[in-house]
Every structure is written in C-alpha cells, then in structure tokens.
Symmetry: C2
Subunit: 129 residues, 2 copies
C-alpha cells in the first residue's frame, strides 16, 4: 500500500469548499512517512485550479486518492489517504517539500515550483481491495 | 471537452460526508447529455467504498473529475463536472443507467451491476487548460 502510493506519479486531491461543496483536482505529490507534499507549480493554471488552496485554508480537510485502472478489472486497486491539509507559503517546510518533489519529478528539477506547498498530514490509510 | 469525458474509461468521484469531510473514489461511468451514470457493480467492495452512496443521499453533491496524466506535462488536461447526485435503487432510471453502462463497458455486458445506480445531473463543466 505504501509502495503503491510512493511510486504513483499522480493522485487526485479532494477538498471541501467553504460552502461545503466537493472539489477534486489531479496533483503530483511525494510521500514521506505519513506526510504528503504537493506544490503549486509552473503548469499553466486557471483560477479554478487554485480553489484547492482556499479550501484547505478554510477547512483544513484533505483526501488524496491514488488508484490504478486497467481493462482487466481483477487488477484494479486504490489507496486513499485522509488527513489534515495546510498551505505553506514559504519557509523551511515549503523548501523541504520542493526538495522532495524535485527528487521524485525530473520535471520539477528543470523548473522548480514557484507557488506555495500543500502539506497533508495523513490520519487514515484506506486501501481496496 | 465533451468527447474527452465521453471516451474516458475511469473518473474520480468526489463527495462530501454528512460530517463535511471530503471523500473520493475511482468510478466507471457513462455520459449522456448533461447526465452522468455510474453503478455499484460486482467488483469486490469494502464497506468504505459504499460511503459514496451515503454521502449522496445525505448531501446530494457530486463532482466528477476526468483527467489525463503523462510525463510530458505540456499534454496534461482535466475536465471537472460539478452537479447534483442521487442514488437510484431500482426503476426505469436505474435500468437506463445499466443499459448505457453495458453499451460502453464490455465488462458490464459480461456481468451486469447488481447494486444501485448513481445519477449525476451536471450543473457546471470546467476544463483545464
């Protein structure tokens, strides 16, 4: 379960808006222990995309899904990490996040993320099947 | 945008629990107009997985993400469908859902879903980039 999450190249981050609506975006991330780091990077963004930051600031709630799909449904799996999420605009934690992300993603080594880091402290691991 | 959603084999469905927590699961689905149909099928389920049904019954809120990941980040995209979601335990709407799902997925033609259908009426389409 931990290996599947650590090796995944993309996850889907679900948050809740201040009005209680569900919100979900794909995101690159890195796992360290029971912490997930993500970043707002140089991929071109619409304003919608940054709603995740507003949601985390407002609610502090995050759920990250890592899953595998293929046409042989006997081989499907998912792992879901529920926890608290926060936004780090700068400082040591953001630097640590960027370092770990750059170590995992060659794309980040070529261009470091310019925006804040997202930090999720995992409280619950769930896996299927 | 519509073609990308219609052709996608898997999406990620975000809901909100009765307690206001984010929840997200992968799901197979079919698009018809501005309606998305999904089903609870024969893939082995844990009790966690059915939380989506409780969430839809409690809140009626759903957000379905369809996205594409590859290592060339210039080719990433996503489409997100926000709307209202409900659970159909039986009746014509569930039958229609199962028929459309079976037409799209050969896996469903071999074994029809035994559980309820999920119906999402899309109110907002968003796409990136």
């Amino acid at each position: 379960m931990r290996r599947r999450v650590a090796e995944a190249r993309v996850g889907r981050l679900a948050t809740v808006t201040p009005n209680g609506l569900p919100h979900v975006v794909p995101c690159c991330f890195v796992l360290e222990g029971d912490t997930v780091y993500s970043a707002v990077d140089h991929k071109p963004k619409s304003t919608f995309n940054l709603a995740r930051l507003d949601n985390l600031r407002a609610t502090g709630l995050a759920s990250l899904l890592v899953d595998h799909y293929e046409e042989d449904w006997a081989r499907l799996w998912w792992v879901r990490l529920d926890g608290t999420g926060r936004v780090e605009e700068g400082g040591d934690t953001r630097e640590r996040a960027l370092g770990l992300l750059a170590a995992k993603y060659e794309q980040y080594r070529r261009q470091m993320p310019a925006g804040p880091a997202v930090v999720i402290e995992i409280t619950t691991w769930r896996a299927w099947p």
